[in-house]
């Protein structure tokens, strides 16, 4: 039951956490296949917003003028936990998979995809931090969602593996035209995966918010782009710009020639 129009179409009046007003007058729209990043300082309401969206209704402390979320499957990847502790990784995947693909072949495919075949029959409590994060992402992939809501995915995974998996995941999202709402502090991940990054909590805490438009699709961005000095430089300046509250639009990645004196 594909949803026509937006996967997420919300207009928040306020978002409060323990009586602190964190977000005011905030709109967010995610189309099918588009990828939005969400970042900002700790405690600025990112996770609360993500949880609201994943649960398809305004959670405690959120008042919304408009709150429409797709009825289709959402792959929610929480910051911690989020798996069934009494099941092995394999059974977790089977439990999360939609009914028609609850087969060991699908399970094998996802395990292989996330490089988790060695922990197939291990329980979540016995996994290392990185393995656990990969298993969580694997559960979301097994769901075959129309939208991923990811909260700091793969932050504890070793660097090389992390980029390998992110690239693979990005390709998969392209193939399935999956939307993404990514909450992260990791600018690299945001730059790599997202079309647009929304920064919450600028100099004025209750105000939005910067929006940074990145050079859009096609995804995935080439790994060499990320290793390129120019992008690293751009990333550095962007990181500071992100938190200084300016609005920026990047049409293209600056070339080496642009930067050389």
């Amino acid at each position: 039951m594909a949803h026509i129009g937006y996967l997420v179409d919300i207009e928040l009046a306020t978002l409060r956490l323990a009586d602190r007003l964190l977000i005011k007058d905030f709109t967010l729209q995610i189309e099918q296949g588009s990828r939005i990043g969400l970042t900002g300082p700790s405690g600025c309401g990112k996770t609360t917003l993500l949880r609201s969206i994943a649960s398809r209704r305004p959670t405690l402390g959120v008042t919304a003028r408009n709150f429409r979320i797709t009825n289709d499957r959402i792959g929610y990847i929480p910051q911690r936990s989020g798996m069934l502790p009494w099941y092995s990784v394999e059974r977790n995947l089977l439990a999360f998979a939609p009914e028609e693909s609850r087969k060991s072949e699908w399970c094998d495919e996802v395990l292989d995809f996330m490089e988790l075949t060695h922990v197939r029959s291990t329980f979540p409590g016995q996994l290392s931090g990185g393995e656990l994060q990969r298993s969580r992402l694997a559960c979301a992939i097994a769901t075959q969602p129309i939208l991923y809501c990811a909260d700091e995915p793969l932050t504890e995974v070793g660097l090389q593996q992390k980029w390998r998996l992110l690239e693979r995941w990005s390709v998969k999202m392209n193939e399935c035209a999956t939307g993404l709402l990514l909450v992260s502090h990791d600018i690299d991940t945001l730059l790599y995966l997202c079309d647009k990054v929304v920064v919450l909590g600028g100099p004025e805490p209750t105000q939005m918010i910067t929006q940074v438009h990145l050079p859009g699709p096609p995804h995935p961005r080439r790994p060499q782009d990320l290793n390129n000095n120019t992008l690293v430089a751009a990333r550095r300046s962007r990181t500071s710009v992100l938190y200084s509250g300016e609005t920026l639009e990047y049409q293209q990645i600056p070339t080496q020639a642009d930067l050389s004196p």
Binding site: R51, A54, S55, R56, N71, D72, R73, I74, G75, Y76, I77, P78, Q79, R80, S81, G82, M83, L84, P85, W86, Y87, R91, A95, F96, P98, E99, F123, P124, G125, L132, C139, A140, T143, P145, C149
Partner: protein, 202 residues
Amino acid sequence: MGVLLGLIIATLQTLVPGEQGSKRLNTWLTVAPLDFLRALPIIALVPLVQMISISERWKVALIAWAVMFPMYLSMRQARLRSLVDTELALNAAGLSSLDIFRNYKLPKALGGLLKGVEISIGIAWLSVVAAEWVGTFSEGFWAGGLGYKITKAHEANNWSSMLICLALFGLLGTSTAWTWRILFTKERALANGFNPLRNDEE
């Protein structure tokens, strides 16, 4: 017998729907009366039972009554506890309520069941002693249970009999607790496909 009865009653009680704080009516209908009954000390009920009857059936009922509440409490606790993110992820994934019950709610409750039985076994032995203060019909050396014998030993100032009874209680308690633990070790639970004894925190 008492443990079994308590288990059945407690399980039935946890099936009473909607006792979260938000539903006031159900709170008053189910939780408040149960809390009231739970507050009655088992020892305080002994004279009451004594006034009704001193048959074995009533003693069993008394034990079942005592065992019922730890079962009820741990089941209720297990049911009301929620793994917030897991629940959210399952709901977001659009799983049917049957799937969520089978994969999430049931295993969560089973953890409470095992813990409840473990506590109940201890409470059962305590209430055996209390129940046997009621007295017994029969006479002679084999008359009455261990609790009755302790009372008799006290009356006769019989040290050796008293100590033997206490030691027997210790042995019985240990063996029942161990039997339960051996039946439901981690490995056994793992072999059955789930592990309710596992700590849910990662």
